[in-house]
């Protein structure tokens, strides 16, 4: 695992619990979440239509798309409710010295 692929997102206190922030890197958009048991990351755009999930609602371990209420599991990326049917890509996250990093392949 090469170290370069870990990208710094920001400090841990930049995300409230049960919430998310959008993180843009190069030409890609990600969502980074703070859940009760830690931090998680997924693609930032819904798999149904090109809509930013940053405006969606985080509930328990799920992110609900703000456009048509498609629902994804944040930890696995699984599409749980239509009209979303394609899974969301997830990314590894680590916390080091109160800073959040995500591993982009």
């Amino acid at each position: 695992m090469s170290e370069e692929n870990w990208i710094e997102v920001g400090s841990t206190d930049s995300i409230e619990e049960e919430d998310l922030i959008r993180f843009d890197h190069q030409d890609k958009t990600f969502c980074v979440y703070r859940l009760a048991d830690g931090f998680y990351a997924t693609d930032g755009i819904c798999t149904h239509e090109a809509v930013h999930l940053e405006d969606g609602l985080v509930m328990d371990d799920e992110i609900e798309c703000p456009m048509h209420q498609g629902i994804f599991n944040i930890k696995s990326g699984e599409a749980l409710s239509p009209p979303a049917c394609e899974d969301l890509k997830t990314y590894p996250v680590k916390v080091d010295n109160d800073k959040i990093f995500i591993k982009i392949d």
């Binding site: 919430d19 405006d55 969606g56 609602l57 456009m67 239509p82």
Partner: protein, 411 residues
């Protein structure tokens, strides 16, 4: 107990009910009878991404035939034209007879048709199903069909207007009322939507009725009640819909703006259930009957009917929610917006989104929002939750876009 369960109508409510029955009952026979020769599919893209060629037919199906086979759900393409509730039988056009122990009616709704006093009725196009969407798509692909008139400024008419405008067509929308999308949408939001259509080149005509349509050399002339004349190459009408209940009109089934059902999706006849667009159901939270035509409702109501049919007694308490996408705008409606004593506005310009909350006795009953893409989605979703829980809310937070609504949800 092993039952013969028949689902009449192979749309969204029907398929969700079928799968939910199977989840709870591995024994019974489940058969969906559908008059469209297609597995159940999503209708929302028909007026939007399907016309725009961003989605094709394969993208619309809820499930593949493989899923139905795996779950032992039978789908038969047949149109039923007689129902004998007393003997629990359905009769098809080809005289096939289907017997049931339990029946779910999910026949959806059908478009209201214009009635013209000349022989032009077949020249007016409507959009409800995939076949009609394909025909419209094919016609507008013809470069000579450039000027298109849409009669009716409701959701479906405006969505078609938005799609055809994006296909570089010259679109005119004629609406009989004094605002778009009926009175259920706050006028301010209807006006914002109207402005976007106009900015994008569509012509919107309000407060006008059609006196006459004539055809000359393949071109239609639409005469309005103020004597103005619109020339057009193609006419589409979206003037509302009725529940598909003709089949039941001379039976004992209780009808009133659709099939009357209680909170358990039960109709007035034992062992007969109804769900989706066709049902006028009792909502225990609002303590009244309502009929909805929305994606989320067809899904959730179908699931609820499925549970009850399988013997898992379940009340339907889902908060109504629907959306409409036009150009880059996303409109959402939750709860009910016609029974309130106070309106609170959140935001006033389209970029950050605008929401109107409808309150009664300090409790939010419903909300209507408009924003770019899904900008208002989270707040609308939170509103549904607050409505569901009858939460008394801090109005100052509701009206202040700088304060997150998440705070209002009680954990």
């Amino acid at each position: 107990m092993k039952n013969n369960i028949i689902i009449l109508g192979g749309g969204q409510a029907g398929i969700y009910a079928a799968r939910e029955i199977r989840k709870n009952d591995s024994e019974s026979n489940i058969k969906i009878l559908g008059e469209e020769n297609l597995l159940p599919y999503e209708r929302p893209p028909l007026s939007k991404d399907f016309l725009l060629d961003k989605k094709n037919e394969e993208d619309l199906y809820f499930h593949s035939s493989h899923v139905l086979k795996n779950e032992n759900i039978d789908f038969e393409n047949i149109s039923i034209n007689k129902v004998d509730f007393e003997n629990k039988k359905l009769v098809a056009k080809n005289d096939n007879v289907y017997s049931y122990d339990i029946l779910l009616i999910s026949t959806g709704s059908e478009n209201k048709k214009l009635s013209l006093d000349n022989n032009l009725n077949n020249d007016i196009y409507y959009l409800r199903n995939l076949e009609e969407a394909k025909i419209i798509k094919e016609i507008v692909a013809n470069k000579n069909k450039n000027k298109i008139t849409i009669i009716g400024g409701g959701f479906i008419g405006l969505e078609i207007a938005s799609s055809l405008s994006q296909l570089q067509k010259k679109v005119t929308v004629i609406e009989i009322g004094n605002q778009l999308m009926g009175r259920i949408i706050p006028k301010q939001i209807a006006d914002l939507v109207q402005n976007t259509h106009i900015e994008q080149g569509n012509e919107i005509i309000l407060n006008k009725q059609i006196d006459k349509i004539t055809k000359k050399n393949g071109i239609y002339e639409i005469l309005l009640n103020d004597n103005s004349l619109i020339e057009t190459d193609f006419v589409i009408a979206g003037i509302g819909s009725n529940p598909s209940v003709k089949l039941f009109e001379n039976t004992n089934l209780k009808l009133d703006n659709g099939i009357v059902t209680n909170q358990f999706c039960e109709t007035s006849i034992k062992d007969v259930y109804a769900a989706g667009d066709v049902s006028n159901f009792y909502h225990p939270l609002y303590e009244r009957y309502m009929r909805l035509e929305s994606y989320q409702h067809a899904q959730n109501h179908g699931i609820c009917a499925g549970k009850n049919i399988a013997g898992v007694k379940t009340e339907y308490t889902s908060i109504p929610w629907m959306w409409s996408d036009q150009f880059n705008l996303n409109l959402q409606l939750t709860g009910i917006c016609d029974d309130y004593d106070e309106i609170i506005e959140r935001g006033n310009e389209i970029n950050n989104g605008v929401i109107y909350f409808f309150l009664k006795d300090k409790i939010i009953r419903g909300a209507c929002g408009l924003g770019i893409a899904g900008k208002i989605g989270r707040d609308i979703r939170i509103t549904s939750k607050l409505t569901e829980k009858n939460t008394i809310v801090d109005k100052q937070i509701l009206s202040d876009q700088n304060q997150k609504l998440n705070k209002l949800i009680q954990k």
